[in-house]
């Protein structure tokens, strides 16, 4: 990793009593990229973000955000970082515009400049018409979009979004992701986005880091990740009838070193060329009916399943 990282963490650790929420995290995020924090709930993503914002003190390790140490210069960090917490809240009795006005004032953006900026942002996130309604009446998607406007108000160098698509319907999530993608690609912001919904954010991230139980188990470009995670072997899932004999039949194929039944599906692990076709040939030879076959280990979906859903393949 180069030294040009706009965010860097070295051996960052956070413990809550006996529980280690973040464990020896080493990570660098480069300027101008969209980086995805992926991981199941409770993997330490939010804790890491809170430490980046200086809202939580690390137990040990060091970190740097935009050239500042969040523990010592929290205010400097907060000037250049826009953070959208998960479950973002607004003052319900105030209108969207009034909420933004308050944020503007807290960031010392005054008067006419603030009004113009607020109007532009509201248009950008598609809330211009709802701007003078109370936030109480906003839908979840509207709140999230107002959150984006809120974050952008201070014209941040770095944007941190914690579970931005949580609780949105697919359409709303897509709209939000479009806005985020534009921010990264057209405006060159550095964006850190955390989510457990891999499918939604995989398309907009330049790089991702996968968190499991406080540890970063993999990081890199999505297409490189699969190779990084799999040890050259393949994982194949098969559904065929009769399922009782399936595992034994598969085990007889050369190169298969593991087969286990999960319900009506058998998970197979093995290596060698043309493993899947050879298995199919074997099953056909045994007059078994193959209904489904999926070769895993090549895309993030599989990594996701492997680590997030706790399905034990090894």
């Amino acid at each position: 990793m180069g030294h040009d990282g706009i965010i860097s963490m070295v051996d960052l650790t956070k413990k809550y009593g006996d529980i280690t929420a973040v464990d020896q995290l080493n990570l660098t995020v480069n300027s101008g990229e969209i980086f995805g924090f992926l991981g199941p709930n409770g993997a330490g993503k939010t804790t890491t973000i809170l430490m980046l914002m200086g809202l939580t003190e690390p137990t040990s390790g060091s970190l740097q955000v935009g050239g500042f140490d969040p523990m010592r210069d929290a205010l400097d960090v907060k000037r250049i970082v826009g953070y959208m917490p998960d479950n973002i809240g607004f003052y319900d009795d105030m209108t969207g515009r009034e909420n933004l006005r308050y944020t503007a004032r807290l960031n010392h953006i005054a008067g006419q400049e603030a009004e113009v900026k607020i109007q532009n942002l509201l248009e950008k996130v598609g809330l211009a018409e709802a701007a003078d309604r109370r936030v109480k009446e906003y839908s979840r998607g509207m709140r999230q979009r107002l959150g984006i406007a809120d974050v952008l108000l201070k014209d941040p160098k770095i944007i941190i979004l914690d579970e931005p698509t949580l609780g949105l319907d697919p359409e709303g999530a897509e709209e939000l992701l479009d806005i985020i993608r534009d921010l990264g690609q057209k405006e060159g912001k550095t964006i850190l986005i955390s989510s457990h919904l891999l499918y939604q954010i995989q398309s907009i991230c330049d790089r991702v880091g996968i968190f499991v139980k406080g540890k970063l188990i993999a990081e890199g470009k999505i297409k490189d990740l699969a190779a990084q995670l799999s040890d050259g072997g393949q994982v194949i899932e098969i559904r065929a009838e009769p399922v009782e004999q399936l595992a034994d039949a598969v085990m007889s194929v050369a190169g298969v070193n593991f087969a286990e039944r999960h319900g009506d599906t058998v998970i197979v692990k093995g290596d060698g060329e043309n493993l899947a076709p050879r298995i199919v040939t074997e099953l056909t030879a045994r007059h078994m009916a193959v209904y489904h076959l999926n070769v895993r280990g090549y895309n993030l979906d599989d990594i996701y399943r492997q680590y997030f859903q706790g399905e034990e393949v090894k």
Binding site: L75, F90, L106, N107
Partner: protein
């Protein structure tokens, strides 16, 4: 917007930081927002209405019960109205000492946890604001609202008194009244600080409100009861021949009950509004023998309640300091 530029020397950077630290300027922004929030909230209107109506009613009743011949000639008519109880209605001071804590509690019980539960706290704290600014701004805004409320109440009731009795108050009377109102603000501020502390300790607004009310009941009802029980146990006073024991019983009882801010407030407000009160402790008949009844000058009355005032201010500050420290160290989880 100021962005740190590379400075030539470390010293220069340090100075720049110090200057920035001073001019964060967000205390005012938060203060204003909180003030506007408070003043436009329906909670404020309910409390204000409640306190105004009870104040006015008790004051009016006191005026009706004041003997007509006593008006004007003995002096201090206006301030005396505040402590006069009508036939069945307790005096104004009693109502304020009862409702004051409630007002303070109602204003602060969800000051912090309310924002946390609505998810606005982490958004607020991710803006360039110092945490001190947040809690100070919240406290100051509420304090100002309390002061406005109390001043309005005092002005309204006092004006009503002047108008209806037709007796012009002396300068000292007005001064006593203002001091009493200031004391009431301090007393309410004590409960405000306490409820803000509770709003930090408890995540649920309902729990912190209940905690505050429990403590209010404890201080205003149980501490005096407890004081009596302890005093009776230590210095039995059922035998009237044992004057010393009886005397110490009263002293001990009083000192224990002074641990409660409501006792401090009641004693202080009584002294400030009734110039004829010369001492707050027990007086032996020998000591009172030959004393000419008269009014205490304001300075002497103040001297009498100075410890009370100091105690109340100190208690408020200590509790606020605790809330402040807690808030600065608190984990902000979304």
């Amino acid at each position: 917007m100021t962005v740190t530029t590379s400075t030539t020397s470390i010293e220069g950077e340090d100075i720049e930081k110090k200057v920035k630290r001073k001019s964060s300027g967000n205390l005012e922004t938060i203060f204003r927002k909180e003030l506007a929030d408070q003043l436009s909230s329906s909670r404020f209107f309910i409390l204000f209405f409640l306190i105004m109506v009870t104040g006015a009613v008790s004051f009016y009743a006191a005026m009706q019960s004041l003997p007509a011949d006593e008006m004007g000639d003995s002096g201090f008519t206006l301030v005396r109205l505040f402590t006069t109880s009508a036939n069945s209605l307790p005096p104004f001071t009693w109502f304020l000492s009862l409702l004051g804590p409630l007002v303070g509690l109602a204003m602060g019980f969800d000051a912090i946890n309310g924002e946390q539960n609505r998810g606005t706290m982490s958004r607020l704290l991710s803006q360039p604001v110092y945490r001190d600014d947040v809690i100070n701004g919240k406290f100051l805004a509420r304090l100002v609202v309390l002061a406005i409320m109390t001043a309005a109440l005092g002005g309204f009731v006092g004006g009503m008194g002047i108008l209806m009795t037709g007796v012009a108050p002396s300068g000292e009377e007005i001064l006593r009244l203002l001091l009493y109102l200031a004391l009431s603000v301090v007393y309410m501020a004590f409960w405000l600080a306490l409820s803000m502390l509770f709003s930090l300790l408890f995540r649920q607004a309902a729990t912190s409100a209940l905690g505050g009310i429990a403590l209010w009941l404890f201080f205003s009802i149980f501490v005096p009861l407890l004081a009596g029980m302890v005093a009776d146990a230590v210095f039995p006073a059922n035998d009237s021949s044992q004057t010393a024991s009886e005397f110490y019983n009263v002293v001990l009882r009083q000192n224990i009950s002074r641990l409660s801010p409501s006792t401090l407030y009641s004693e202080a407000s009584l002294t400030l509004l009734s110039p004829e009160v010369r001492t707050l402790g027990p007086v032996l008949v020998e000591q009172a023998y030959g004393a000419i009844s008269g009014f205490l000058p304001l300075g002497q009355s103040l001297l009498l309640v100075w410890p009370h005032l100091t105690g109340l201010v100190a208690a408020t500050l200590i509790i606020f300091a605790a809330a402040y420290t807690l808030f600065l160290r608190q984990e902000i989880r979304a």
